[in-house]
């Protein structure tokens, strides 16, 4: 079956995830605990990509993967920022946020059970706001600590810049995704192409962050 240009672009978005996963595997032993969570995150994304592509190939609805992936991503990102700040175990607030988010994502999925073709965008919007907040708080921390060293030499700077760009732009996409889904198939593809491009950018930033991470 021939694929459209948009479909091919969306399919190709898995390549940066593959690259980041390979870098994570190569560098895992040398990574600090916080960045090990980033490595787990890229493997988590790769596993989700593979499963979702298989379902897509067999024309099976793969939207049920959405809250599962989202909860994992949210938990790992909150864990990453929490560990990088405290250099110890996850704080109680972080655990509470992760559990609350997971429960919220499941609740949204149940709520949307009667509308199987709609995407659970509420949880994604909440995730976007929280992750943007985390990235900005990291930026604020850098503002306050003049001696933190060069911005681009720190892995978390790359991660934060990637997340800030990805979630800021995607906030609008998630806000209108269900509307666009019913509005026009062509527009829907355009949106997913933009999403794939931003996702590629994010995983390239992850790959570079893992690559430059100093030994623990």
């Amino acid at each position: 079956m021939p694929y459209s240009r948009e479909q091919l672009i969306i399919l190709a978005a898995v390549l940066p995830v593959l690259l980041a996963s390979a870098v994570a595997a190569y560098r895992f032993r040398a990574l600090a605990p916080a960045l090990r969570l980033l490595a787990v995150l890229v493997w988590w994304a790769l596993a989700t990509e593979i499963v979702s592509r298989v379902f897509w190939f067999y024309k099976i609805n793969n939207l049920f993967l959405w809250p599962i992936y989202m909860s994992g991503e949210f938990g790992l990102l909150v864990g990453l920022y929490s560990l990088s700040r405290r250099r110890g175990a996850l704080s109680r607030a972080a655990w509470l946020a992760i559990i609350a988010f997971g429960l919220g994502a499941v609740a949204e999925q149940r709520w949307r059970a009667s509308q199987p073709l709609l995407i659970d965008n509420l949880a994604r919007l909440v995730e976007s706001v929280v992750v943007i907040g985390l990235a900005l708080s990291y930026a604020y921390k850098l503002f306050r600590e003049a001696g933190a060293g060069e911005f681009w030499r720190q892995s978390l700077s790359w991660v934060s810049a990637g997340l800030l760009l990805f979630f800021s732009a995607n906030f609008f996409i998630y806000l209108f995704i269900n509307f666009a889904l019913n509005y026009s198939q062509h527009l829907n593809y355009q949106i997913w192409v933009a999403h794939a491009a931003l996702n590629s950018l994010l995983y390239l930033a992850y790959a570079y962050a893992l690559w430059i991470s100093p030994a623990k």
């Binding site: 850098l142 503002f143 003049a146 933190a148 060293g149 911005f151 800021s168 732009a169 806000l175 527009l187």
Partner: protein, 262 residues
């Protein structure tokens, strides 16, 4: 996207996405610019601190030199003169007395005084760079090594002419060589010492190596540095933007190299 309303919606949506993206880019770029600015500011502050430290060291070294000069003058003019007079009196006692016991005591006192005068002369020579001022760096270094030879240590000296160097450089080279020679006498138990003074392009290099007992600079720097005056040597070298390198290992002697730009 054929319908005008669809195009309108797409413009709205992608415009919003673009605006958010732009906002995020602005945040990242602002952060980078601010960070670079504060990083540069920090570097400037560090440089100021270094300059201040350099000035402090310069003033400490300067006051050390003038204090040495004062002590040298006092030793030479006051104590040296008094001892010479005392020596004359003792000699007079020896000639005037008929008592053999007193004459013998006068002899012994005279010997003690002669030893004391010699010690004071050594101290004065160490304290004051008189040889340097009078004879220039090459001859002063030669005399320094000749003292080691007098103490039974074999010495080798290879010097390229360096009397045209600035006063500050000559003084630093002389003082550091003096410190190294002092260390060799006190700590190294060496049998052979070699001093080289070379003039590579754009600089001057002093190397003093010995075959003494050596030490491990990595294992006991804190214990060795104060006693060996490495801190002082480094400070003097640093004042003239020079570099001091110490290569040593237990049982394998020591090589100290000072490189100064000219």
């Amino acid at each position: 996207m054929d319908k005008p309303s669809e195009i309108e919606f797409a413009w709205l949506l992608f415009g919003g996405v673009g605006a958010m993206l732009l906002l995020a880019v602005v945040v990242v770029v602002t952060l980078i610019i601010y960070q670079r600015k504060s990083y540069r500011q920090q570097m400037r502050l560090q440089q100021l601190l270094l300059d201040h430290q350099r000035e402090m060291i310069k003033s400490v070294v300067g006051s050390q030199e003038s204090e040495r000069e004062r002590i040298t003058r006092d030793l030479h003019d006051e104590i040296g003169a008094s001892l010479s007079v005392a020596k004359l009196f003792i000699r007079q006692i020896k000639y005037d007395t008929t008592d053999d016991g007193v004459a013998k005591l006068a002899d012994q006192a005279s010997e003690v005084l002669a030893e004391t005068v010699k010690s004071i002369r050594d101290i004065v020579q160490n304290l004051s760079p008189a040889n340097l001022n009078r004879l220039g760096l090459n001859k002063a270094l030669g005399i320094l090594l000749a003292r080691l030879a007098a103490a039974g240590i074999r010495t080798q000296v290879h010097q390229e002419p360096a009397d045209d160097l600035s006063e500050a450089r000559q003084l630093a080279l002389y003082r550091i060589a003096q410190e190294i020679v002092g260390n060799i006498v006190k700590h190294a138990a060496a049998r052979h010492v070699e001093l080289r003074l070379e003039r590579p392009a754009g600089g001057v290099r002093l190397t003093v190596s010995d075959d003494g007992r050596g030490f491990d600079p990595a294992l006991a720097p804190a214990a060795l540095a104060p006693g060996m005056g490495l801190g002082g040597m480094n400070a003097r070298a640093g004042l003239l933007s020079g570099a001091l390198t110490v290569v040593s290992a237990p049982g394998q002697g020591t090589r100290v190299t000072l490189e100064l730009p000219v």
